[in-house]
Each structure stands twice: as C-alpha cells, then as structure tokens.
Amino acid sequence: MSSTVEAARYGSGKAVRRIEDPALVRGAGQFTDDLKRAGQTHLVFLRSPHAHAVIKGVDKSAALALPGVLAVYSGADLVAAGVKPMGNAVPFPRPDGKPGASATRYPIAFDRVRFVGEAVAAVVAESREAAMNGAEAVMVDFDDLPSVTDTLQAIRPGAPVLCEQAPDNIASEMKHGDAAAADAAFQRAAHVVSLDIVNQRLAPASMEPRVVLAEPDAASGRLTVTLSSQMPTAVRDGIAAALPGLDKEQVRVRVGDVGGGFGMKTGLYPEDIVVAHAARTLGRPVKWCAQRLEEFSASSHGRDLITQAELALDANGKVLALRTRSYANVGGYAMTVGVVIQLLIGPWVSTSIYDIPTISLHLTAVMTNTTPTGAYRGAGRPEAIYVIERLMDAAAREMKIDGAELRRRNMIRPAQMPYKNPMGQTYDVGQFEKMLDQGLALADWKGFEARRAASKAKGRLRGRGIATFLEWTGGNALSEVVTVNVLPEGFVELTVATMPMGQGINTSLAQLAVDVFGVPLEQIRVVHGDTDRANGFGSAGSRSLFTGGAAVQVASERTIEQAKNLAGEALEAASRDIEYRAGRFTIAGTDRGIGLFELAAKQPTARITADGDATAGAPSWPNACHICEVEVDPDTGAVEIAAYASVNDIGRVVSPTIVRGQIEGGAVQGIGQALCEAVAYDRDSGQLLTASFMDYALPHADGFRGFKTVFDTSVPCTTNLLGVKGVGELGTIGATPAVVNAVVDALAAAGLGRDAEKVQMPLTAPTVWRALQRDFDRPDWA
C-alpha cells in the first residue's frame, strides 16, 4: 500500500495515543459491573468454608423466607434441572495407564467440596444486600473430611483422596524425551548440577473482579451474557453446552471493557453457568459481581510446580542433557488447561534458546484441596524458563565461569535456524547471541564489580542476575477472521474476535488499518466482544496481534480491492484504472474521483464490507536478554531492585508505546513472583491464608522505576504476515529468573556459595534473612 501522511503519523511503528484511553481516564469505561438493567436481580454465592467435606444437605428454607430473596440454588437443584457439569477432559493418562482423572466439577458443588471457596449455593435477590443476607441464611450440612493442600504430601500413601479414579491423587502424568539417553549423558558428564526449584502458586489478581450479567429475552428465547472475559466464544459455547435445551445460536456473549485478564479470564467458569441458569429460570436479568475474597479463592490460580532439576555438562560447559522430575499442583479439580500448561506447554520451551540435544522430563499433575489452576501470564513458560535459567547459573557457579559465557557457549546459532528443539518445536528465527551482547552492553556487565564494591561500602550485598530465553506464543490457535465495514458516517469499522484487556490491542489493530486505508486513526473504530458479530479463540497466549492483526491487514486490503470495483462503477471507469490513496479513489491520470466514505454511502447496503482471514504458519518465538541487579540489606534481608535492563527481540513493532508497557508492566508481575507474591494455605485446615490484598502481596508503586528497555526489531517472525512476535508475556517470563538469579548471586558472594541456590521464592525479607543464616525451606521429598 502507498505510504500516506496518515500512515506516516498513526500507522504501524508509530507511538500513538491509545484509542482506548479517552473514555477510561474520564471514568466512562464500560466495565460489566457498570451496567444496570431494568428489573436486574443480584446473585451471591455461598462458598465452602471447608477444604474437603461431604455435602449432606442444603436447607434453603430460612433464606427463601427472607425479604427480597427470589431463589436459592443448590448443586442438587442444578443437577435436577439438567444443568451439566463443567466439560473437562483430563489430558494424558495416569501412571497406571488409565485415562487422566479428575472429580467431576459441578457449577455448584453437588455432593462434595474439594477446596475452600467452592460454591455450595447461589442466592438471587432483589438487591445485593438481600442476596448476601440470604446466603448467610442457607444452612449447609457438611461432613468434614481430612484435607491435603501440599503437593508432595498429597502423593504419599494414606493421603486424603479427592477422586476415586485417582487413589494416589495423580490426575495424569507425562514423560518427554529419552530417559535412557539422558541417563547416559549424565554418566559421561564432566559436571552435573542439581537444584530443587519451587515455582510457587500465584493469584493472577486482575484489578477488576469477575462480573457476569445474564439477561433472558422472553420473545426470542435468547440469552445475553455480558461478562469480563478474554474468550467470549468459549463462554458462549460452554454455557450452551451446560444449560438444557439451549444451543449456541441462542446465546449472545458480550464483553465491554476488561479490567485485566492475565489468562485468568480465559474459558468458562462455573459461576458463568449458574448466573445464566438463574436468569433463564427467573426470566429476569441476574448479575453476579465477585468480591475480592471470591477472586482469591475461586478464580484460577497460576504456577505451582515443584521440580528436581539436573543439568549435565561436558568439560567445556556444553550442556549434554536436561533431566527434570516435576509435580504440578493442579488443585481440587484437574482442569484441562491447568494440566496442559504444566505437562506440555512448559516442556515445549524447557531447553529455551540452548542447543541441548537430550532431555528427560517427567511431570505429574497432582490434585489437592486447593483452587484449580489455569492460565496465568506466561502459563508454563515462566516455570520452564525459571528452571533452565536457575540451572545455568548453578552450572556456571559450579564450573567457576561467567554465567553469560556459559549461556553463550550453549546458544543455538542463527545458522541452525529453523531449529527443532527436543520437544519437536521449531523456532523459525532468532539471534540469541546478538541479544546477549546487546544486553551485556546495556547493563554494563563489565562494570558490575565496581558497583558491587560501592554497594558493599554502604553495607549492602549486591548481586547480578541474567536470563536469556525465548517463549512460545499463539496458543496454537493461529487463525483469525476480521470483518471490515466502511460506513458513510466516516468510519472504517473493524469487527474482531480478539479482546482488549489492557494490552491496547484495538489501538494496534487500528494502526494496521491506518496503514492500508490511509485515514486518520480517529476514523478507525474497533468493535469487539460480541459473539453475534465475531467469533474466535479470543485473546490469550500473546496471539492477538500476529493472528488478528494479520487478519485486519488482509480484510482491509480486500475491502479496498472490492471498493475499487465499486468505484469503477461509480466513476464509469474500468476498475483496473482506479487508484486508491488516503480515503479517495481516483481514475489514474485524471482528477476524477470519489471518497471512500462517499462511495460507501452510494451502496445499496450503505456500506462496503469485506471479511479477511489469516492463519499464521506457526507460533512466534520472541526472545530476550534480561539483566537485573539487586541490593540486599544483610540486617533485614530486604531486597531492592537496583537496575533492570532488557533487550527484546520481538520482530516488527506496531505500537512501540504499548510494547514497552507490556514488557515493563509484565516484568513487574515477574518481579512480584520473585520477591513478594505467594498463595498460602494452612496445611492442617486447608484454609486459604492469602484471601485479600492485605495478605497477598502485589507489587506497589514504591517498587522500582528505572527500567532500561530496548527492542531489537531486526529479526521479523517469518511465519506470519506481519512479521510480529507475541509480546504480552515476555517481560513476566524473563523477570522472575533475572531477579532471583541476582539475589542468589548476592547471597553466594556473601559467603553462602552454592548453598545460596537453596533459597526459594518469594524472596521476602524474612526468607532472604534466614537464607543468610543458612536456614532454608526445602521441599519435603521423603
């Protein structure tokens, strides 16, 4: 397409003001809880206070007698009404060869609860207060059972059992690689390092809690469900599958603004089904808005993987093999996505950017009396990258060589591209050593000792950590369809199935449309979140730009080609003689022409419409070098981030401002895992101890503010039309190992040596202080 003034100002590659922002800063966003319908009722869940219990009965009578209460639903009520349990296939077989196992997850617990926070009843009332009063009046007769929340305790003989098909609490397991070859490599290795690595459980904690509003339409029999979700189509299909006598054409899912998702708002939740069912049976709009307590206890958690990890190296530091034994705590119900993330997606990047010929990975999904796990920013890749990057530092320490040098010796060379890793994943492009070199320069790697001395002079222990890595993006959902409508009102409207949730995807898509149409950014409108208008996988796995963006380009170009025919008719000229530039068609060599929007007005449908679809050939593989320096106060154990530099190979950049925000904001989430965040359960009672922002420590504004962030755009992705690579999760994945490696380095240099590697996240002040006294929490493998 010809370059235009508008494309030069607002098109791809330009730092523009986001089209999402003006409404959001005025408080005029459309979050689901901002909607209020005539006759709207309110639903409140009663949730289990027990980690594990049999439900002997639910007495609803007192609740139903309260003023304003319209209905009370127990799990048994939903079963009787024909509401189906959550569709859930546990992937991969169990160790005994039988199919993967999980207890059936009902939208409201039916006969047994398996984690604190599982819904046991739902109350609908005229007001939220009345519904809350009603929930308090529901009497549930629980028969308390012994519970287990710890992964390694759950697989011991005699542990409480969550599911009859899994007497050992193992949902499923997976072995990757060649165990015999790995064992042989470890036999002949000159150096072997091994680490116990705990990827602690995290709460995604989007600032907007989940909200669901369901509205039945008696006339059409349709149900409209508005909610905060990254995947409207999956919610539509899931609700239709769960509710009796409802097909998906009868369900319309709408999503307005989403106040953060981070993977937690992917797929269908039990609450979505319950709210939809209540609206259908009551014939009135029903709204449920999660309290933060519910978000912590009943929204998917992330991570929670314990790994024994070993690396075998030859005398020159070349890695011969990676061998791991991992246990993933997938919670009270083994959900498909939670299992796949740990047992397959993480392993895909287990060898990262290193040319490691042999792997042996053995991963077991364990059920415990905790909240089910699902996607959380990075989803499997942070866990795997953390393991390999911790091992790299351990090996460097063992061999007494520089960690950057050891990484360099093992990196896949550009000449090896495309490179198939031992998991069968093919990287199309990547110049990893170039990223390393730029990272070392940006972080002034060579000047570190002087800074360490300066820190020491003020009584601080300085450490330096590096992570060089890549990640898999796209969710293996690589196709997207976009519809373009040119409207006479002067707008080009893009109808998309991708979802904005803070990542500004609508702005990026609009910029790509500006490239093609050459009209101002303000004349591009993006319609999202309506399953009556567009359907697809939704936004997850850093897929939206390289799939949806490519479809925008295809649809936009197709629109112009089609419009050239229409312009030819309007101007009584052959379409091959029609030229388009900046919102206007002209007959080549003349000054006769017609405006794009004027042409739209002339059409019988008063619009020019075209669909465009695009399919990426493969995942994109963004990669980076992140380097962090920390200062530790030896008296308190408090860790401060002293410097953070990153060089990121993300292919072509469409929206530089947004990309920087994704990398740096994402890095702070990774820093959160490294330094402060952890979901904690009481081992004896199974109570969730981190059920509010008082107890679950999110990073605050007084953290760190000195990011040095560089993009390397010189290596475009070759498997999608745009050459872009997914960028939503890169910062989160890199930050955790970079920060922890820095703290371990500080501790090692303070005299702990390799003992420092025993420290486990989160590296809170007490944990680091205890490490300095050689006091560590270790996984109890016995």
Partner: protein, 160 residues
C-alpha cells in the same frame, strides 16, 4: 433512611440513604457515577478513591452519611468541562494506564497529592500512590504521568 446533602462534582445532591450505605455504593448506584470502581473488600486496592473537600479518600471505607455537607469529587468531575485535567492528559501521554480499572482511583489519589504537594518528587508520588494497586503498568508510567501533570500545572499556574 436519613437525608443527605452533599456536593458531587460541583452539583448539589439531596437524597435519602440508609445509614449503612457506603459512599462508593451511593456514587455507583443511585448517582450513576460508575467511574469510581470497586476492586476489593478490604480498602486496599484504591480503585474507589475520590476527593472529599480536596482530600483523597477511599469511598469504600466511608459511609455516605460521613460525607454529609461535604464536597465530593469523582473522576467524572476531574475534567474542566470538555478539557481533560492535566492528570488525565498525562496518563494518556505517558501510557500510565492499560486496562484502566485502577485509573480513576490513581487519578484521584494523584490529584489529592498535587493539591497538597504541587511539585512532588518521584518518591513522594510513589508514596502517595501506596494505597492504589495496579496490576498492569508496573507503576513506572503512572509515576511519570503524575510528574508530567505536576510540571504542566506549574507551567500554567493552575491548581490541581
């Protein structure tokens, strides 16, 4: 129900509220000012922050009746007519928001700060935002935005 008279965004409001009604619920419910958000149950997230007589207050930890006779400013009252407040302009310019859910609270906390400390240091800004959580931005650009707004206000001689 008790009668309540307050100023909201410069307009006088006369209404009846239950003694148990929180200010945030009055604002979001009967008054329809949904820009003030609620993100937690324990007064930690700060998404509900408003100004009361110029001071930043979490509207979830205040009964509506406690605002009796006072002047409440919500994010909807921050702009000067059609002209965005310098803080709103700076949040956009500095990419100080992503999902935008915490943004109204951030803006109001920052506004409260700038009214008391027109030229804050970055550390003062971060301290003032200690009660506001953001999960998207990492706060870097938020602090930068507040700093930019402070400079804009200083240059024009306006008050926050």
């Amino acid at each position: 129900m008790t009668s309540l008279r307050i100023q909201v965004n410069g307009k006088s409001v006369d209404t009846d509220v239950a003694p148990t009604t929180l200010l945030v619920d009055l604002l979001r419910g009967p008054l329809g000012l949904t820009g003030t958000h609620q993100g937690c149950d324990t007064a930690q997230c700060g998404a509900c922050t408003v100004l009361i007589d110029g001071q930043a207050v979490k509207s979830c930890s205040l009964l509506a009746l406690q605002a009796q006779g006072r002047s409440v400013t919500t994010v909807e009252g921050l702009a000067r007519g059609e002209t965005p407040h310098p803080l709103q302009e700076a949040f956009i310019a500095c990419h100080g928001l992503q999902c935008g859910f915490c943004t109204p609270g951030m803006l109001m906390s920052a506004c409260g700060l700038l009214r008391q400390v027109p030229q804050p240091s970055d550390t003062q800004i971060a301290d003032a935002l200690e009660g506001n959580l953001c999960r998207c931005t990492g706060y870097v650009n938020i602090v930068a935005a507040v700093q930019q707004a402070a400079q804009t206000l200083a240059a024009t001689g306006e008050k926050a």
